[in-house]
Amino acid sequence: MQTFSFSQAPLEPGQFRDALADPACGGYASFEGWVRDHNEGRRVRRLEYEAFEALAIKEGERIVAAALERYGVRRAACVHRIGDLGIGELAVWVGVAAPHRDEAFAACRYIIDEVKHRLPIWKKEHYEDGDSGWVNCERCVDAPEHDYSRQVALPEVGARGQARLRSSSVLVIGAGGLGVPVLQYLAAAGVGRITIVDGDVVESSNLHRQPLYEAGDIGRAKAVVAAERLSRMNHDLHCTAIAELANAGNVGALVAAHDLVAECTDNLRTKFLVNDAVVRAGKPAVFASIYQYEGQLQAWLPEPDWPCLRCLWPEAPRDGLVGNCAEAGVLGPVPGTLGSMQAMLAMRILLGIEPAPVRGLVVVDLLTFATRSITAARDPACDHGAPGPQAAARDAQAAPLEVEFASLDDARAAGFELVDVREAWELARDPPGLDTGMHLPLSELLGGRLSFPADGRRLIVCAHGVRSLSLTEHLRQHGRADVYSMRGGIASLQG
């Protein structure tokens, strides 16, 4: 079956549906548009559809292809009726088959919206009073659907600036409290291409501060929902959803493929990951974070002597030590304001609006509305995230301290050499046959009578995982990246 076609004859949805059958698909969604008996207060008797077929078929095929790619669905098709239609007849049919229902619904919705909006199809309505009239296709209305005149009127924007936004691409990492206003404003302003990276799903506790999402979105991937909403909001936008966390494996290529990066996550690990990637790629970036009623905003520009995130925070604490929204609490307008400021900063950078952003940090207090710009110098000792000894030491700090195993054999199979730091009297109580590997009692290590092996991937075990954790922490602080503590200790094996 063709992915998009016109039909003079009445549509047979049963046949179309069968043509999409696919054993790999567990979900099928379909939309049918029917001829209704009224429009804008007038009684309608019948309809005529006319299309510029050659152009419409090509554009229709593009829409279906985009839906397949964007939502990862396997099969999709659309058939539009032309000619004379009576009340109740089927005017347009869309069908989508996908492994799961979410993608099927989303792709179906996308196809019908795009078809209605983009295809040169005209409708003539015949009214009960004998009158008739052409109803413009949505694309062909006189006023452009998205009118940027109010921002083009600004001397700093103008037609040239608008064209610049249209040809710009922005990577938005994190589609939460900060990301939502960033996405909404950039999409509305006519930024041509936006990629949304977020590995989370919409949760009920997000809704109070992330008003792009609705109760019905709970459980769906944020990136996908946001891309749907933005695409519907501005048809000029090319929006891509990446429903995974930004990580070391994907961040480099994503950053390289965009003109600017907006970092909108709620964790320091990702912020530093993005910092290192933008510094390496020489791409401008806007960072923001919030804590209760306060926010911090920072721009990074690929200019000589511009301070990066690591210049400011050479020894950033683990995420657990700085509050997040779940623990510290947050009112919606706080990320809303900081995200809006990020969007403003992004547009200033894209449009080259003077003055240049602050080299350093802007600190905002939303209880007093005090805003403070604190300038920072580039730190000559900072490696700006480049690979090297500092990065290795940071990795050692950042790696999880504890790992969990069901048995000691599992730990050995994972490549660990065991070091048992319990005292001799504790070992005597072990069940026969339990082999905990090298025995270095903690008291002997602390007393300096024994020393910890200088290398190797070591898993430290004790009775309950408390002593092993503090020893692991101590070793990590002294630069040992390859030591771990077994969570729960020997007790966790016997339970």
Binding site: L312, V322, G323, T375
Partner: protein
């Protein structure tokens, strides 16, 4: 001689200090000494290495000498979003 210093706290430090700002008389001569003094007086837990200090709207080093009337800000990184 004691110096009169205006101190502002942000984020977790504001909570721990129980106030957003204060003007105090101190015998401390550097930003580092002042922070250590306040750690004790105000029960601040974050180690200095994790913070930034700014004097008169400019980030500075911890060995920065204080002068009478300086405005000192202690800022921890925040991560919420």
């Amino acid at each position: 001689m004691t110096l009169s210093i205006h101190v502002q706290y942000f984020a977790a430090l504001r909570e721990q200090a129980g106030r957003g700002s204060e003007t105090l008389a101190t015998g401390s001569r550097t930003a580092a000494d002042l922070y250590e003094e306040l750690r004790e007086r105000r029960g601040l837990t974050l180690p200095r290495a994790m913070l930034k200090v700014a004097v008169n709207e400019e980030f500075t080093t911890w060995d920065r000498a204080l002068t009478d009337g300086d405005r000192v800000v202690f800022i921890p990184p925040v991560a919420g979003g």
